[in-house]
Amino acid sequence: MNENHTIEAQRENPGIFSGLAATTKRDLLLAWKRPGDVLNPLFFFAMVCTLFPLAVGPSAEQLEFSGPGVLWVAALLATLLSLNSLFISDFEDGSLDQFLVSPQPLPVLVLGKTLAHWLTSGLPLVFVSPILAITYRMPLSVVGVMMLTLALGTISLSLLGSIGAALTVGLHRGTALLSLLILPLAMPIMILGANAVSLAASNDIYSTGIWALGAYAIASLSLAPYATAAALRISNE
């Protein structure tokens, strides 16, 4: 080893974008090495969508009518399922401790993780949903609207859910508790998304729902990481 290596004085910390990119990259890499964590919520999504026709009956009219709602409820539940593991492994192996003393601001690291979560849970849902939507006899023009609402909605769900995941990390009954905390908060997202799709299906004006979902996504992008960071600090005390 270089014996005359000295500790360099006061170097600039790298910018927040490098921290954001590094965290996202790390979590994507982890997801790549454990594809089950990504696939399970997708199977769950497909499964819930299968349950409804079995329970309600396969008549075309009914499916067409309930399709948007069913797909949205299934997407909400699938996202919730995947949120559980957002911070657990980092909590258990001590990575979270290291995040807390990292020179990068914690909200940035949290945002990076949440972004990776959306890329591995929300985005796949968006791309799988058309297959299920077609089985529900949704017209192609409406499928596009549905994909858009799901894309915007799952961003907010990931961000909002990260607050709940941070609050419940390390608790024994975390799983059930997370649903209890997040579902009431997530209701507006589902209301906006599902109803925008329904409106599109009945050839009504649906833009209100899309704009509101977009506004919600922007608001949660700017606020949720701070709440999540605060919650993580508290949970890790």
């Binding site: 508790l177 905390l181 109803n195 209100t208 919650a231 508290i234 005390e237």
Partner: protein
Amino acid sequence: MWKWFHQLASPPHFYRISAILAPWLAIPGTILIAYGAWQGLFVVPMDYQQGDAFRIIYVHVPSAYLSMMAYMIMATSGAIGLIWRIKLAHAVGAAAAPIGAGFTFLALCTGSIWGKPMWGTWWEWGDPRMMSELILLFLYFGYMALRSSIDDTTKADKASAVLALVGIVNVVIVHFSVEWWSSLHQGQTVFKKGTMDADMRIPLFIMLIGFTMVFGSMLLRRIRTEVLYRERRTRWVREMILSPEGGV
């Protein structure tokens, strides 16, 4: 002012003051409720549209109002506790939640009893106010569940304060989204905001004040219990209990 506020935030001081204050809220509050109820049930004339069924508003409106008020108190005290690290504030939040949940439940029950003669059904999914109130009840449940599942009190205080604050931002969004949703499905809300006669309004006003005062005394009593539990290892609690008065 600030000094007075700080003094109040010290647990022993609060404990003393609240003991004096609580009955001064409870007794007049009960009298007001009794008077308002008598007025509302027997004196006020029957509504020409709703008949006697409307009289439930004298319980329904105050409890709906207090259900939101309690949430506001919970969130505000959570913010105060997080920002200024005042421990008493967290005790306020812990004390307010079950009362708030109780009033939310009462508002839902009375709303549903009112709904039966009005809509012909106990529960109307299309009414935005009932939906908002139901979601509020779920938020209370979440808050209390989070609190009870964290063993460490300081940690539970802070975590639930964050949740209450996230909730308060969301309550507004919930309200508007539910309103938008019900406008799609119903076209209009069931109750129109009509004008009320003055002789109907005055008992309601009395009930509102009475309910608020009783709520205040309930809250104070719960905070006192909470403070006593949290401070059980401190000297002032020990001295107070050992004193001849036995700690009133």
